[in-house]
Symmetry: none
Subunit: 185 residues, 4 copies
C-alpha cells in the first residue's frame, strides 16, 4: 500500500489523499472510489500493517512446539530482524499508536493486538513454568508485560532514534539475555 509509505515518510500530518493517489499513479477520485473517505484509507493502512506483522517475521528453523526459551529468543530475534529489515513498519506503528489516543477505530485494533501479543507471551511463559525451565513463582501476566515494555522501548529507541546497527545488535542481545536470566533465576 502506498499510503503506508507516505505515512512512514511524512507522518499522519502529511498524509494527503491527492499525494497518495499521485504516487499510486491514479486519479485522486479513483482512490476515493476504493477508499470512500480518508478514514477508510487509514483503516486500510492499519490492515496493511497488521498483515505485514503476520507475514514479515524472521525466518525460523524449527516448527512444531519449540522449547519456551527458544520461542522467547525468537521474539527478540524477530524484533531485531524486522527493525533492521523494515524499520519503516515500526515508524508507522508508532504513528498509529500515537494516533490511537484520538481515533477509537485504531484504538480498538491496537487493543486487540496488545491482547493477542500478551496471550502469546503468556502462553510461552506458562508452558515454561509448567515444564520447569522458568522459575516456579513467576507471574506470567506480569512477566509478559515486562517483555512487552522491553520491546516497546526497543522499537521506540531504534525506530525513532536510528542508532548504529552494531549498537542495536548488542542491545537486543543484552535485553534477551537479561530477560532470560530473570525468568530462569
Amino acid at each position: 500500500m502506498i499510503a503506508y509509505r507516505q505515512i512512514a515518510a511524512k507522518g499522519f500530518e502529511g498524509l494527503r489523499v491527492r499525494e497518495v493517489a499521485a504516487q499510486a499513479g491514479i486519479n485522486n477520485a479513483t482512490l476515493h472510489h476504493h477508499f470512500p473517505t480518508k478514514e477508510a484509507l487509514i483503516q486500510g493502512v492499519v490492515e496493511h500493517l497488521l498483515k505485514e506483522f503476520q507475514i514479515g517475521r524472521a525466518p525460523r528453523q524449527d516448527r512444531g512446539e519449540p522449547p519456551p526459551i527458544e520461542e522467547l529468543r525468537y521474539e527478540f530475534e524477530d524484533a531485531r530482524y524486522r527493525l533492521r529489515d523494515t524499520p519503516e513498519m515500526y515508524v508507522v506503528l508508532m504513528e498509529l499508536y500515537v494516533r490511537s489516543r484520538r481515533d477509537p477505530a485504531i484504538a480498538r485494533v491496537f487493543e486487540a493486538l496488545e491482547r493477542q501479543w500478551s496471550d502469546h507471551l503468556i502462553g510461552i511463559l506458562e508452558r515454561g513454568v509448567r515444564i520447569g525451565v522458568f522459575r516456579r513463582d513467576l507471574d506470567p501476566a506480569g512477566a509478559a508485560t515486562m517483555i512487552k515494555v522491553q520491546m516497546k522501548g526497543l522499537a521506540f529507541h531504534v525506530a525513532l532514534g536510528k542508532p548504529p546497527r552494531a549498537q542495536v545488535d548488542r542491545l537486543v542481545s543484552q535485553l534477551a539475555a537479561e530477560t532470560e536470566r530473570w525468568l530462569t533465576r
Copy 2:
C-alpha cells in the same frame, strides 16, 4: 503554554493556530505577533516541554551527591511520579519524538536531550563502578542505553496504553529492581 495542551489533547494533526489563540483568549493575528509562524509556535512548545522536564521532577530527600544506586532508583521513581502526575507531558513528548523524524529543528533538540540524558546516566554509572557498587566489567555507555530503552518502553507503554495504576507501580518496581540487580551482579 496553551499550544502544549492542544497537542496533548488533539495531537499535532489537530494543532490549529486559531484554536490556540482562541483558548488563550486573544486574536489569532495577535498570536502571530508573538509566534510569527506555526513552526515558531511549535518551537515554543518544545521549549516549554524542556522547561517542564527540568522543573517537574519527583521530590527528593537528599541533596549533594547521593549514592549511585539511590540516584538510579530516583530516576525510576521520578518516571513513575511523572507518568502518574503529568502523563500528558509524555504524550506530547512522544508526539514530538515522532515528529522529530521529519523536523530537523526538533530532531536537534532531541539529540541534545538524549546526549544530556546519556551523559547523566553514564556519570552515575561510572561513579558506581569507581566506588565499587557496580560490577567492574560494566560498560557505562551500553548500560546507559539499556536504561534509556527501559524507560522509553515504560513511557510508551504507560503514556499510550493507559494501564491501571497498580500495574504501573509493579512494573516500575520490577524494572528498577532488575536493572539494579543487573548492574550489581
Copy 3:
C-alpha cells in the same frame, strides 16, 4: 420514472444520477446507457410529467361535448382531485417551471403546454359565448389567462404550502364559483 420521485423529494438541486440509478436498482453506467446525459434524464422527467398530466385526470361522467359550464367546473374539480391525489406532481411541475427560466428545452415544453392549455380554455369559453351561457362581451383570451392565473395560484398555494384539506376544498369551490359568476354575469 424514478428520477421524477427524486425531484419531488429532493428538488433539482438534489437530483443525482447515481441516486436515481441506485433507486432503480441498476448500475449508474447502465442508466447512462438509457439517458446519455443528465439533461436527457431531465427531459425524460418532463415527458413523464406530461404523460401523467394526460392520464391522471379526475374521473368524469359524461363524454362527448358537455356544456361549457360543466367543462369549466371539471377543470377546477380536476385540479382539486389531483392536488389531493398526486401533490408531488405539482411540486415537480413548479420545480420544472422555475427551471424553465434557464433551460430552453424545458421552456419550450412549457410554452407548448401553456398554449395548449390556453387553447383548450379559449375553446370552452368561445363555445360558451356562442351558445349564450357566457356574457357576450367576454374576451376569451383574457378570461383564459384569468383562469390560468387562478389555477396557478391554487397550485402554488397548495403544493408548496400544504394547507389542510378542508381549506383546499373550500378554496377551490370559491374559486370555481367566482369564476363562473364572473363569466356569466
Copy 4:
C-alpha cells in the same frame, strides 16, 4: 447582495460560493469570513429578500388609515408595480419557496411571512366588514386566503412566464376589480 442576483440569474442549483465571491470582487475565502457556510449565505439572501420586501413597495399617496378598499387596491397596485420594477425579486421568491419544502430554516421564514401577510389582509377585511363597505357574511380568513391565492397566481404567471406588460396590466386590473366586486357583493 450579490448572491441574490446570482440566484435570480442561475437559480439555487447554479449558486456557487466562488462565483458570488468573484462577482463581489473578493476572494472566496473572504466571503467565507462573512458567511461561514453556504447555508449562512442563503440565509443572508433570505434576509435581503425580506428587507427588499419592506422597502421596495409602490409609492403611496395617503398615509394614516385609508379606506379598506383603497388598501386592497393598493395591494394589487403594489404587486403590479413590483412585478414590473423588480421582477427578479419574485423569481428569487419562488426559488426560495420551492426550496422551503426541504429547508426548515427557509420554511420557518416563509411561515412567518405568510402569517404576517394573512394578518395584514385579515385586518383590512375585518375593518371593511366593520364599517360596512364589505358584505356582512364575509369570512375574513377565507377571503384573505383567496386574495393570497390570486396574488400567488399572479406572481407565478408573471415572474415565470414573462407575459407582455399590457397583458399584466389588464390582468391585475381584472383581478383587483373582481376581488373588489366579490367582497362588496
